[in-house]
Symmetry: C2
Subunit: 152 residues, 2 copies
DNA sequence: CCTATTATAGACATAAGATATCCATAATAA
DNA sequence: TTATTATGGATATCTTATGTCTATAATAGG
């Protein structure tokens, strides 16, 4: 159970865009080479981010990408839910219904599976945390004294 | 990013064992058929659970499995960390170090990556929640009025 | 209008991991 | 001694992630 590499790519790309001067479009070439990964692959990820309204894209000469809204309004959750998809982390694969005879419980609107309730609850804890952290937040907390060239 | 089916298999199996009368060994045949899955596959999962001290196994006629400790002391975290492995959910795959010039921050013992800090923090939220929920906890919360045969 | 540049989208290829099967062996109860 | 049961390795299959390639559309600038 791991985040895909694509998630890391997306996060780093958005951080890069957040650092770019406002109004400038950053091309896929620059974004990909900075991370040392294939342009064609990253462009697919960017396409998803665009379709989800996280970045804007402009085709043509001197085109490229820019953030669609301030980095302070782009949460880790936003990014991850686009790249990883929105399926839940735990799915019930029960073929027959024999096995869960005892695992459901009364709730306001009826019965629910207690196994899934725990698993979904765990997922929610993680997602809530991710919603509280933004791209800009990471940049703001960065300390110059820790950049590689400054550390001997 | 999803939990593997194996995790579901393991959880259901342990719940089954927790319901079995104490001192009785439950065979792989019963455990597998209840969930409608291949014995050979489930036995590999059980083998991992045994190596991790979550269940005990007895070879030979009338052998099988039993919980190694009370269900109230087996957390969802225990199970998931065995089945899914213990690698962290986010790994940095940076080939060069050029890309993280600004993302580290001073901390008590030095510098750390702020991206990873957020991702690890999110994972921790989830794991802490899973540590607070046990196999027995699910059984205790189950309500008879919700079992299938009782619901019309 | 023409050309170079750049994003887009689909098809395709490859690698990795999850899921499943098979078989030979060891351990135990009866 | 025999039937039963778990164990572990090897292998096969299926799915998903990752990466590549190519054709197309859109735009800036000359
Ligand atoms: S108990 Fe819950 S997770 Fe298990 S089979 Fe029933 S519905 Fe699915
Ligand atoms: S910023 Fe963090 S996650 Fe990104 S490349 Fe540097 S160490 Fe890895």
């Amino acid at each position: 159970m791991q985040f895909s590499k694509s998630t890391g790519y997306a996060l780093h790309t958005l951080i890069h865009l957040a650092q770019a001067e406002r109004g400038r479009y950053v091309g896929i070439k620059e974004l990909a080479s900075k991370q040392g990964l294939p342009e064609s692959y990253l462009s697919k990820i960017m396409s998803k981010l665009r379709q989800d309204g996280i970045v804007r894209a402009v085709t043509g000469a001197s085109g490229g990408y820019e953030l669609a809204r301030p980095g302070s309004e782009i949460t880790f959750y936003d990014v991850i839910s686009v790249v990883e998809g929105r399926q839940q982390m735990y799915e019930c694969h029960a073929a027959n219904e024999h096995q869960h005879e005892l695992f459901a419980e009364a709730d306001a609107s009826g019965c629910e599976c207690l196994v899934k309730k725990v698993m979904d609850g765990a997922e929610r804890q993680m997602l809530d945390y991710l919603k509280q952290h933004t791209i800009q937040g990471v940049l703001d907390a960065a300390s110059f004294s820790c950049s590689p060239e400054h550390r001997a």
